[in-house]
Each structure stands twice: as C-alpha cells, then as structure tokens.
C-alpha cells in the first residue's frame, strides 16, 4: 500500500506530488492517516482532497490514492496540551465531509481517520426523518418505457396503501413512516441496497427495473433495509404495473409486506417491540398469510416485549 504524504511547509508541492503518490517529508514527525470511502459501495474514493487545518491555517494537504487511503505527515509544534484540528475532505462528485483530529504531544488521538463521502446525487434525498422509506431509481434496460416518474408515483401509492394500514392500528404518529422518492439513487448492484438505506438515513430502500412490457408491465423490485435483515435483498416481481398510466402504478402486496417487515425491524432496533409486533401483524394482514419472514420478525419482537413477562 502506497500512502500519500504532505507537509505543512510544502503544501503546494505536496498537492502536486500527492497526485503522483510520492509526497514525503523527512522532517515530519506527526502523521495523520485514514481512508475516504463511498458509503454506498464501501469502496475507496480516489483523488479526494484532504485538508488538515488548525483554524484558518492549513497544516497539511494531500489526496487519496487508488484505494482511498491518505496519509498526512507534517511538523507540528509539540506541546503537551491537546490541539484540535479539522480534517476536511472534498471531491467534485461528493458532498464534502470533515472530522476532528486531536493532537496531544504530537500524537493524534487515533491511528486512522475514516471519512465517508456521500455522492452528491444522494445528498438532496437525505431527509433525516425517522422511519423513512425511499424509492430509488427504476429503469427499463430495454428502453421500452419512460419510467422516470415511476418512483414518485410509487411513493404516492405506498403512502395511500400503507399509512392507513398502520394508522388502523393506532401506530403513534412518531412511528409512522415517511415515503419519499430519490430517482437518482441508482445502485450498481443489489448487494448495495442496505448501504443505500443507511446512507440515505432510510429504514427501507427500494429500486427496480422493468422486466416485460405490454398493456401492463412486469416490474421487478429489490427491497433492502438499513439493518440488513434482507440479506440478500428481497426481490419481488410485481405483475400488472400500469406504467403507461402513472397514476395507476403501484406495487404488489408482497412488496408492501416486505416494507412493513423492514419498518418493524426498525422499531425493534429502537426497542419498540410492541410497535414492531403490531406492524408485523399489519404485514400479515396485507399479505393475507403468515409468511415465514413476517412470523420470524413478529416472534422475535414478541419475545422481547414486556408482555412476555405475563407468561410464566
């Protein structure tokens, strides 16, 4: 592994050399290193610009290598008191991010500083709402249909289908999900769905593609979740999706049930096991049968409710 190095006294040169991955400083005695990754793929971000600043003064600068690693070596006034520096990272394709680095007696407080950069096309979709369901990109690989509006249409359908199901059970307002579309969220692989959910702050992330065309379309959806209960992500083939009539396009109950199970798991993660049970029951009734994945989630939560103490 080859690290890039930079120096406080040779910042401009370091930047130049950094591009070639050979920056070094013979006199440097403080080293801050880490890795910059894309959270949607967990892969390193190449060529991210890494700045280490104390106040307005840049202490060191470098760029990440082909695996997203960086190493900043620099001379620093060694004092016993802790000094806090700002490690900021930017890249043309990503939203900038930063973290703090505490230096005491010339030594940083961590061996490595991981920094995640969120792709810019996703940042506008981050809502910071609890119990979020995001509908991402839907495409037709064969180019037969314009499905650009499908995510937004599906959001409307999910809201009017699932919110009443949950409200019927008096799910507290704070626990009711929000549905939103993010057509630019386009995973390159279904194995990244849980990463997309985490990055977007969603409990559930859905994307899909068109399989068959005709009077109505056959649409495949992939359902992933933040906590990885669907491993691999659930795949549902939705029959009779009326893509040509955007108002009529909605997903099958099986997809709805998986969304509810993922939401239920989100409640379980917050130790709200009673609400988890209620939402699993909603999923059973939406689907019309007790599918094993629903029953498993329900029983997991049942065993953890305080009500379980009522049985000896």
């Amino acid at each position: 592994m080859q690290f890039l190095r930079a120096s406080r006294v040779t910042t401009g040169l370091a930047a130049l050399l950094g591009a070639f991955g050979v920056t070094s400083s013979a006199s440097a005695d403080t080293i801050v290193k880490g890795r910059v990754t894309d959270p949607t793929t967990e892969s390193g971000v190449v060529g991210a610009r890494v700045h280490l600043r104390r106040g307005a003064t840049e202490v060191a600068f470098g760029t990440t290598n082909l695996d997203g690693y960086f190493e900043l070596a620099f001379d620093f006034n060694v004092v016993p008191e802790q000094r806090t520096l700002n490690l900021s990272v930017d890249h043309d394709d990503y939203a900038a991010n930063s973290t703090s680095v505490a230096i005491t007696s010339g030594r940083p407080d961590s061996d490595a500083y991981p920094v995640e950069l969120t792709p810019k096309e996703l940042t506008r979709c981050i809502r910071r709402k609890p119990h979020l369901v995001i509908v991402g990109y839907f495409g037709d690989p064969a180019g037969r249909a314009d499905v650009s509006q499908l995510p937004r249409t599906l959001v409307t359908g999910l809201s009017s289908n699932l919110l009443p199901e949950l409200q019927k059970r008096h799910l507290p307002e704070d626990f009711q999900p929000t549905f939103d579309a993010c057509p630019s969220a386009r995973p390159s692989s279904q194995s990244y769905l849980d990463n997309y959910a985490r990055t977007l702050g969603a409990d559930v992330f859905i994307f899909g593609d068109v399989l068959e065309t005709g009077p109505t379309y056959k649409v495949r959806t992939y359902v992933g979740d933040r906590h990885g209960i669907f491993e691999p992500p659930k795949t549902v083939v939705n029959e009779n999706v009326a893509i040509m009539d955007p108002a009529a396009a909605e997903l099958d109950n099986e997809t709805h049930a998986y969304i509810l199970v993922a939401l239920a798991n989100g409640y379980a993660q917050q130790d709200r096991f009673a609400e988890c049970v209620d939402v699993c029951v909603a999923a059973e009734q939406v689907l019309g049968n007790a599918a094993s994945i629903i029953v498993q989630q329900r029983e997991y939560c049942q065993d953890r409710t305080e009500n379980s103490g009522l049985i000896q």
Partner: protein, 434 residues
C-alpha cells in the same frame, strides 16, 4: 391546491316529521385544523342531533374528481336509510393525504377533526387508480367516546373476587369496510348519481321536472318521505323531491351497501340492533359484526346460545393468521367463559340459599340485596381463572398494546395473588390506554 372544507349538516328528527332540519355550512378544513392547532375549539355543528355522523371527501390522490361524489352518495344513504331517529350527517370536504403543515393524514386527520366536533361515527374513503380499474376503499372510524359509550362490555367481579371490572371493547375501531373496483362506466354512474341527489324535482317521480339544485352552503330540511324518495327544502325557498333508491346502480349500488353497513353500526348505537355483514364486505367488517353479535349474546341470550356464538367467534382464532382486532376475539371469549362460570356459580349458590331451583316457578323471588350478596360471595376456582389468565396472556403476545386485555390480566392476576404479574399488566395497560 386550495382546499376548502364544506360542511353540510343534516338532521332527521324523530319519525321524520315535517320541520326536521338539515343545516349547511361552508368551513375550510385547513382553518378547522388551524383552530385546533391554536388550542381553540371549533364551533360545534348540528349540536342538537342525537347521532352525528361525519362523512369526509374520499381521498382522491389520482385526481379522478369524484371524491365529493362518493362522499355525497355515502352520506345521503346514511341519512335516508339508516333507520335512525335524529341523525345529523356532516360532510367535510378536503384532502386527507399527508400535509406538510400539520403532518397529519388519513385516520389521524379524521380523528382530530371528528373529536373536535364530537361526532359519533365517521366515514371516509380512498380512491386509487390501479391497473385493474379505480379502487375504492371505504373506511369506518369509531371515535373513542363512541367506543366507550356504545361498544364496551363489562363484568363486575364478585366482591370476594376483588370486585373489579373486566372489560371487552370492539376492535378494530378503524375498519376498511369494503374494497371495490370501479370501471369507467361505473364511475360515470357515480357521477350521475351524485348529480341526481344534488337536485330536487317537483314530484317524487323520476320523470317530473327538476326544479332546483340543492345549494352547497345552505341549511336544508328533510320534510317528508315516500317510497324511494325524500322531500327536501331550504330556508331560501327550494323545495322538492330527491331519490333514495334507483339512482345508483351496479357498483354504485354496492357503494351504497358499504354505506348501509355503516348505517347498521349506527343503528346498533341507536337501538342495539345487531348488524349483519354480507359476503362482499371486508374481513374487518365481518369481524366487528361477529363481535357485536357476541356482545349482544352476552347481554341477552341464554347460556346455550352464548356458547354457540362463542364457538363461532373462536373460528376467528383458528385461521392461521391473527384476526382483525388482534386479541379482541380472545378477550371476548375469555370474558364469556368467566361470565358463564359466574352465572353457573350464582345459580348453584342461589339454589343452596333458597333450597330449591331458582328458575322454578314455585320459588320465592330473591330480593335484590340478597341476589347481590349471593353474587358477591362467589369465588371461582383459581385453577379455572388461571386458565383464563393464561389464555389472555398468550393473546397479549400478538396484540401487546391491547389495553383492555392488559387491564383484565391485572384484575385476574390480583385475584390469583400474583402481584408481580398484576403490577406488570397494570403498568402496561396504563401505558397503552389511549
């Protein structure tokens, strides 16, 4: 989009004699919600009616333009065919989908407004375009005050068993009455039927001339009734006849059947008539009809009849999925068992007390105070009560926020001298009481 809520208040007073009033008033939904958010109480509409029903514009996310038409037909059916004296139907016009200002939607929005207005029952719906046609979901929502007043059943345990009350309550209280699919022709029928009931004719005949359209913002009165027709009048001088049947055919007629079921629930509230759910209604509608049948049996039927109804209700718990209402059926079943055991114990104790068959014609009637004394001295076998408690505790696992079940468990565990579980059940019941 500017949303205006329009309220029409309609009243039929006892026996539908001339002079019964409908009132109409234009109100903005946003304004009503704003009033509530400011902590104020909106003016109560049609306060004099004994039974006030709220009918909301069917949510029309796909812009079919028929949200008000569905609500109008539903409301008119309730008003004219519920066979309930003193009914007021309030039409609330506006969107029920999530709004950015309040964050409320659907049931929660309906509940907020209907609680403020103190209505006894609310009906609304969702219209959705689907690949198979336009899907209509009709919802019935029972406010908490109505649940307490009309749909709650209690047993007071004997004094020697603690004297506390066990409670059963109708669930679900938010019911999808029916899901229907409408074709384009069906929708035209609905539109035409809504227009037809919005105007009056000079005579109660379909071929008589239309004399006026009912204004949307004015009080109007139901002044007379003939087969298939009602006479409506306004204070501004409009007076004529509108149809109550024959104007809405095919799927439109089926829509009225959904409204009719809600009307039957309203009638249960008015006079205790137990509603029946026909085969086309949802599983949830069937569930509440069966629960009301069971409640009625517990109140008024013989032991054998109650046993039969309980047996029927038990079928809901053997379907492999959790029934609508969660543990409501199990709770009713448990209370029915306790009720039967208490009746049996009372019968035996009374016989001992008077030395003969209490049901026999020759025995002296027991005084009220003696009957109470006999009842209060009953103590059911702890093993039997423990079995009931175990059954309820199991049902609480799949319906953990059911406050009635938890409250009943607290009572039973107290009797069983199990303070730990009694305290747990009591605390959870308080936590989940709405």
């Amino acid at each position: 989009m500017r949303i205006i809520r329009f309220a029409i208040i309609a009243t039929i007073l006892a026996s539908l004699q001339a002079g019964n009033a409908w009132a109409a008033e234009r109100v903005s939904l946003d304004e009503q919600l704003r009033i509530l958010e400011q902590g104020r109480t909106p003016e109560r509409l049609i306060a004099g009616a004994q039974h006030r029903v709220g009918v909301f514009t069917f949510e029309d996310a796909d812009s079919t333009g028929l949200g008000n038409a569905f609500a109008a037909l539903t409301g008119r059916e309730l008003l004219t065919n519920s066979k309930v004296n003193s009914i007021g139907v309030i039409f609330f016009e506006g969107g029920l989908s999530p709004s950015t200002d309040s964050g409320l939607s659907y049931f929660d929005k309906v509940e907020r407004v209907s609680e403020a207005q103190g209505v006894t029952l609310t009906i609304w719906g969702i219209i959705r375009q689907t690949a198979k046609g336009v899907q209509i979901d009709t919802y019935l929502q029972i406010p908490a005050s109505s649940l307490d007043k009309y749909f709650t059943w209690q047993i007071s345990l004997p004094r020697d068993m603690g004297g506390e009350e066990l409670i059963a309550r109708l669930r679900p209280d938010r019911v999808n009455v029916r899901r229907q699919l409408f074709s384009a022709d069906d929708l035209r029928q609905v539109e035409a039927a809504a227009i037809e009931i919005g105007r009056v004719r000079s005579e109660p005949r379909a071929d008589s001339p239309v004399t006026a359209s009912l204004p949307t913002n004015e009080i109007y009165y139901l002044t007379d009734r003939r087969t298939g027709w009602v006479r409506l009048a306004t204070r501004s001088g409009i007076d004529g006849w509108a149809p109550t049947e024959g104007h809405c055919l095919g799927e439109c007629q089926s829509l009225l059947e959904s409204a009719a079921f809600s009307g039957k629930v309203l009638r249960y509230m008015a006079d205790g008539s137990v509603p029946r759910a026909d085969g086309n209604l949802s599983i949830e509608a069937h569930a509440i009809a069966d629960q009301l049948k069971l409640l009625d049996a517990l109140n008024s039927k013989s032991r054998d009849e109650v046993a039969q109804v309980v047996n029927d209700a038990h079928g809901w718990l053997e379907q492999g999925t959790i029934p609508p209402g969660g543990a409501a059926f199990a709770n009713l079943e448990a209370l029915a068992d306790l009720s039967a055991a208490l009746k049996e114990a009372y019968g035996a104790a009374a016989e001992d007390n008077i030395g003969g068959d209490v049901t026999g014609d020759e025995s002296e009637p027991l005084t009220d105070s003696l009957q109470q004394e006999i009842y209060d001295s009953i103590r059911l076998a702890p093993e039997f009560v423990a079995g009931v408690a175990k059954y309820l505790a199991q049902s609480s696992q799949y319906d953990p926020r059911n406050a009635e079940v938890l409250g009943n468990l607290a009572v039973l565990f107290n009797y069983l001298d199990d303070p730990v579980r009694a305290e747990l059940a009591s605390r959870l019941a308080a936590q989940y009481t709405r």
